[in-house]
Amino acid sequence: MQTKKLGVNSIKIGLEAHCQLTTLKTKLFCSCSTNYRGKEPNTLVCPVCLGIPGSLPVLNLRAVESAIMVALALNCKISRRTFFFRKNYYYPDMSKNFQISQYDRAGGIPLSTAGNVYIRVDHKRKKINIRRVHIEEDPARLVYAGTIDTSPYTLIDYNRSGIALLEIVTEPDLSSPREARIFLQKLRSILEHLGVSDGGLEGAMRCDANISIVGGPRVEVKNISSFKEVERALNFEIVRQKDLVSKGVSVERETRHWDETRRVTISLRTKEEEHDYRYFPELDLIPINITKSWLTQLQLKMPELPDARRIRLIKQYGLPSYDAEVLTSDKSLADFFESCVKLGKPPKTVSNWLMTDVLRCLHDLNLELTEAKFTPEQLVEMISLIEDGVISGKIAKAILLDMIKTGKSPRLIVKERGLVKISSREELESFIKQVCEENPKAAEDALKDEKAIHFLIGKLMQKTRGRADPELADKLIKTHLALMKSRI
């Protein structure tokens, strides 16, 4: 059997993103606190979110408002009347063995349908259609010893049970794992601009992905615990499916589980074992009427969204389109940028630092910008140090990692590590003299060949640990060489 290279349009990916409304103070159907991260397990619970017999849910209307704003931001059609359904299935993370959710069949009407969002892939705009946005409750958190299929027990933490969750479902419009990541990044930025969700929190944004290759069956990958993982999980799945095809084995329609630790997907159930969720109306809750006036009120509350902000950054600060795109793909990054500019630094300079060195350092430290102790004031101070000739750009790059890691001011780090630029003529001359003496051959070459000077400058930088003022050094070396020449 021959394997063919897969074309661009041969992969179809649809996503089901689950985003917690982390900025709500209380859960979706009770008044328990949502602030469960780092808390003692099973302390933020009540009869409602524990599913104690006799308890009844009461809808948190703030959650509905947040959901409507998300749906508006994704250009969805908002239902005028919506209600909840029960999704029935047995699983240890479900306190009632049904999830209060919404449904688009059997007479159900989800909060919103038929939206779209544009992403940028390699400088091209691509429209991703949104099938629906609806509200549901988060199940409890399951904790395994090791992995799901080897753990001898399962611990259940109901602190997460009943947290308001948005389900955002795309059409299968994504054609690569990378696009999936870009889409989710965009989604996260939109949610953060709306102030409804902090995607940086562990478990706040998760997703399931449906993927099919060249018309093959749809495979669902569950338990992708963060947007970062999605690209990895999908890449694995593509390799797995291609491998099967190349061996002449057909891909089965099934549901698989992404094992983050081992970085593989494992089969959960085949098509025959698919759940019948027996959706039917949740009659303990009454329908929600979304009136025109309520909708108008929410429309007026809509903040600036990433697309609008991108355009504004281009117009207001003269940024290149690419810079504006990168900055607005993460709300905290765009906020950081604007703070620095407000403190008086040239937009493009700030943008360059953020897009390249700052992002690289964050990546190396595996930190979110919001998690780092790094402030706009510190970046501004660092840029000032360069402008004032106190440090070189090279030194700046060298201390950035430290700044981000420790939150120390650049001035302090420079002082502690003795990294102030050597701009004193005498001091530099003495270094140059040493370098020439230690490298007589190079110095001799340099007398004849200008290009060899670079070698000497390199040696000088090495000796001064990068602190030599490059312009002055260049000038002084040339002077020194000229002096040597005249002596010959």
């Binding site: 009869p47 524990l50 599913g51 104690i52 017999p53 006799g54 308890s55 009844l56 849910p57 009461v58 809808l59 029960r86 029935n88 047995y90 240890p92 306190s95 009632k96 063995n97 049904f98 059997a106 007479g107 399962t154 259940i156 019948d276 027996r278 959706y279 039917f280 009659l283 303990d284 809750l285 009454i286």
Partner: protein
């Protein structure tokens, strides 16, 4: 004299206590003496709380002697159906599944009666999870009808009705999904009212079929019924289906005058399944009402023919989901076996924890909600429900109340129908339409056939409890049945 206190009405009891004739302790002691005498034969209770009750009675007496303000039900003993959550008191639903369940909270109605200083004396027997018409289907054994111990007390609130009837309590609370208050009221010759859906909070009522059920009073006379209803009928933000209607003192509707009231008598209530002795008894009652000044007319509600199948489909579907939470993880019965995985442990706990009838209804309900059957069964039942509601709406445009028998037959023998579920279901034919339509209904004693009680059902339009209480009161005040007691 204290030995007869248990046959007082709540009104008389409060009066005696407030005038200092007797103490709350006297009343509670009297009731427990009575319980010690007859409970072995009747078996109305699952749990008795004598110690706590006496302590509470002492508190009430102290309040009174200090001259503090006390509630409307000061010192009155009340028995609670065992599917209404009581903090710190076992609430079993007559099921092995919940035989050790102690709720961590009080149902809203329990808070209300406590605020009015009523005294809980125990939790009463019922059909398991309220699924039954006879209180035979209890894990703890059947309740016996005080009028003839070999017969059933009716169900599912049989324990509360029998206890009121035989003087083991003065007030009782039941819950009515398809007749569970009115049926035992009829069989035990007491007053039982099923309030309009949404009038009384369901918070803390362990759900069987949540779109149908309401908590309501079981009492010795109509005045007590109005009094207890006034206490429990309250808007409750914890129950989203609770309707915010102005609060009423229902005892104000109790005028002895029903002249000019228009009564409809649906012929469907006297169909082939109706025992002729019941029909005769009812027509005697209707003749009495006519003599008291009502105008009655025979009418037809054609869709009542479909009410039983519609009711059972809806109730079983809802039950299959409501009872899913009993998996042994957090409370209730759990198999103690390490060799099972979670799914097997869930199944095994449910297999052993639930009784036959409960399992039958869960399985049938699961089937009715399954993919491919949902439209044919559940949705169709909902449509029938709408038609039935319209029949009632139409009738209430012309009539103030509708009247018929509560039960199509006198109390039957224990064991007579236990192996014939369909025959048992047929007994609900006159009560379920009222739940489907969301109307209110009251059952009052209407006479005896061979010493067995027969009940008259008076049905009112939604939130028109005042009217049915008025008719019931006038009938009661002009007939001798209220003061007839079982010979036990």
């Amino acid at each position: 004299m204290a030995s007869q206190l248990y046959f007082l009405t709540a009104k008389e009891c409060v009066h005696e206590i407030m005038t200092g004739e007797v103490t709350a302790i006297d009343c509670i002691s009297s009731v427990f003496e009575r319980i010690r005498k007859v409970e072995d034969q009747v078996h109305a209770f699952i749990t008795l709380t004598e110690e706590v009750a006496l302590r509470k009675a002492q508190e009430v007496d102290n309040k009174i002697s200090r001259g503090d303000k006390v509630g409307k039900l000061a010192g009155v003993p009340i028995a609670i159906k065992d599917n209404i959550c009581t903090v710190g008191i076992k609430t079993t639903c007559s099921s092995r599944m919940l035989c050790n369940f102690v709720p961590p909270y009080d149902a809203t109605v329990i808070q209300r009666i406590k605020e009015e200083d009523a005294i809980i004396i125990g939790k009463t027997n019922m059909d398991e999870f309220a699924m039954g018409t006879s209180t035979e289907l209890s894990y703890f054994g059947p309740t016996h009808n005080p009028w003839e111990l070999s017969r059933v007390a009716g169900g599912s609130s049989g324990g509360s009705a029998a206890a009121v009837s035989v003087g083991e309590t003065i007030l009782g609370l039941g819950a009515d999904t398809g007749g569970s208050i009115r049926c035992p009221a009829s069989f035990c010759s007491v007053v039982g009212l099923k309030p309009t859906y949404g009038l009384v909070s369901r918070y803390g009522l362990i759900a069987y079929a949540n779109s149908l059920e309401q908590i309501g009073p079981l009492t010795r006379d109509v005045y007590d019924c109005a009094l207890l209803l006034s206490v429990i009928a309250h808007y409750d933000p914890k129950d989203s289906t609770s309707v915010n209607v102005p609060q009423k003192d229902y005892t104000r509707f109790l005028v002895k005058d029903i002249r000019g009231i228009k009564v409809g008598v649906p012929k469907e209530f006297f169909g082939v399944g109706t025992d002729p002795s019941v029909a005769r008894c009812l027509w005697n009652g209707i003749a009495k009402l006519e003599a008291l000044g009502v105008n009655y007319e025979e009418i037809s509600l054609p869709n009542l023919a479909y009410s039983l199948p519609a009711y059972y489909l809806i109730a079983m579907s809802e039950a299959s989901s409501n009872l899913a939470r009993y998996d042994g993880v957090r409370y209730g019965f759990r198999v103690d076996r390490d060799d099972l995985d979670w799914s097997e442990a869930f199944s095994e706990s449910r297999r052993i924890g639930f009784g036959m009838e409960v399992k039958r209804r869960i399985i049938l309900g699961t089937y009715a909600l399954s993919a491919g059957y949902y439209d044919r069964y559940y949705l169709k039942a909902l449509k029938v429900r709408t038609l039935i509601r319209r029949d009632f709406e139409k009738a209430f445009r012309k009539f103030d109340v509708l009247i018929g028998p509560t039960m199509p037959l006198p109390p039957f023998k224990i064991g007579e129908k236990i192996n014939d579920p369909l025959a048992m279901y047929m007994c609900d034919i006159d009560t379920v339409p009222i739940n489907l339509a969301g109307c209110c209904g009251i059952s009052i004693p209407c006479g005896f056939v061979n010493g067995l009680p027969i009940g008259m059902q008076i049905i009112g339009k939604p939130f028109d409890e005042g009217k049915i209480l008025q008719v019931a009161y006038t009938f009661e005040q002009n007939t001798p049945f209220k003061d007839t007691r079982p010979s036990l």
